[in-house]
């Protein structure tokens, strides 16, 4: 399978952005941007048969897992940008912050019991890192050596709140099943940075 490139990722989001700005997608869309290099590197380790659990910001994960861009466009236009699912590539997501980690653990427990070589990869933002449900999941994977990795995509924002306002200087040292990378999101939390008129009601956020 041909790997998707950095430029193709950026261009995909740009096209969706233009359509959203033309009010063609009357649904919340969380755009990815600024983390192309980090994700391309991480996805080199993720095998076709592995599971990926994504978040509300799922477009890059889906494309890098080998998802069909046309299928993703269909999902986005029908309002499923924040719940992208594709069984053909073992791809699931949740738009609840820290909603997926516990479920990812269950899949990992099952595939370990089956002596399968597959892995589970669960992506989350640093907002979800703040959540107790994530802590439960990490401890279980760490303690039971489950084939599951958590990837924290740290943009220093929980929705729009920086870390200094949240747990301030507290940093948790996670076990080895947790990876983390830092980046600066090139889009706002949701929308494109432009206020768009959707049938008389405006939606959007500013950068």
């Amino acid at each position: 399978m041909e790997k998707i490139t950095k430029q193709q990722l950026i261009d995909f989001e740009k096209k969706i952005k233009e359509a959203w700005n033309r009010a063609e997608i009357p649904y919340p869309v969380h755009f990815s941007g600024g983390n192309e290099d980090q994700l391309i590197k991480i996805f080199q380790e993720i095998k076709e048969e592995d599971y990926v659990f994504s978040t509300h910001r799922s477009h890059y994960h889906y494309l890098l897992k080998g998802g069909d861009p046309k299928n993703l466009v269909d999902m986005i236009f029908r309002g499923d940008s924040q719940h992208v699912y594709d069984k053909t590539i073992n791809f699931l997501s949740s738009s609840i912050v820290a909603g997926a980690p516990g479920i990812a653990v269950g899949v990992a427990e099952a595939i370990k019991r089956k002596n399968s070589k597959r892995h589970v990869w669960c992506f989350l933002g640093d907002g979800a890192e703040d959540q107790g449900h994530f802590y439960e999941a990490v401890r279980y994977v760490d303690g039971h050596d489950l084939p599951c990795k958590f990837v924290i995509e740290d943009n220093n924002l929980s929705i729009q709140t920086p870390k200094s306002e949240r747990y301030n200087k507290s940093e948790i040292k996670w076990p080895s099943c947790v990876k983390k990378y830092n980046y600066t999101l090139t889009y706002p939390h949701v929308g494109t940075g432009k206020w768009v008129d959707f049938g008389g009601l405006k939606a959007g956020t500013t950068l």
């Binding site: 699931l92 609840i96 990812a104 269950g106 990992a108 427990e109 099952a110 595939i111």
Partner: protein, 175 residues
């Protein structure tokens, strides 16, 4: 047959199915889910930390890989910590995935009893009506031993989630 015995018999019936795994905390130890898992083989039990949302997530995730998890809550009060997993995920994954992923998980939810010891306000609540408002999957409330046996038997064929509300106050009754 006493209601509690019917529940125990149902668990032993479920345990014969290779897909079934019992998930919960303190269910392999003293108490054994009010004695209902006493004669279920240890390898059919996944003893979990006391972390209800994780415990339910374990059930959901295992169901995605072909297991039929039976997740045990000894009191409704403790369901609330798992309500994100139950309401936002267990109940929604099939519909938001456009039927690609199915999550057959049986939630056993026991309503506490005030006898012989009265545990008070945080151990006796009954959230059956509230969960009926919050989820779309079936919630069963068997009130006789026969219904207990019938419901658990039928759930062997479930393709999606279900909750069974058991009442501790009925466990010792011949009904």
């Amino acid at each position: 047959m006493k209601y509690g015995k019917a529940v125990k018999k149902s668990m032993e019936m479920l345990a014969q199915d290779e897909r079934v795994i019992f998930v919960g905390y303190s269910i392999a130890y003293n108490g054994k889910a009010y004695g209902t898992l006493k004669d279920v083989p240890r390898e059919k039990i996944l003893e979990s930390p006391l972390a209800e949302n994780l415990m339910t997530g374990l059930g959901i995730g295992m169901s995605l890989e072909g297991f039929l998890p039976v997740v045990f809550f000894e009191r409704h009060d403790f369901l609330l910590d798992a309500s994100d997993a139950i309401v936002n995920h267990l109940d929604k994954i099939e519909s938001i995935s456009k039927n690609q992923f199915k999550t057959p998980v049986i939630i056993r939810a026991v309503v506490g009893h005030d006898k012989p010891l009265d545990p008070g306000a945080q151990h006796l609540q009954d959230f059956t009506k509230a969960f009926r408002e919050m989820v779309n999957f079936p919630i069963y409330e068997p009130s006789t031993s026969k219904r207990v046996l019938d419901i658990y038997k039928s759930l062997l064929n479930t393709s999606g989630p279900a909750m069974v509300v058991e009442r501790k106050s009925l466990y010792n009754q011949e009904i």
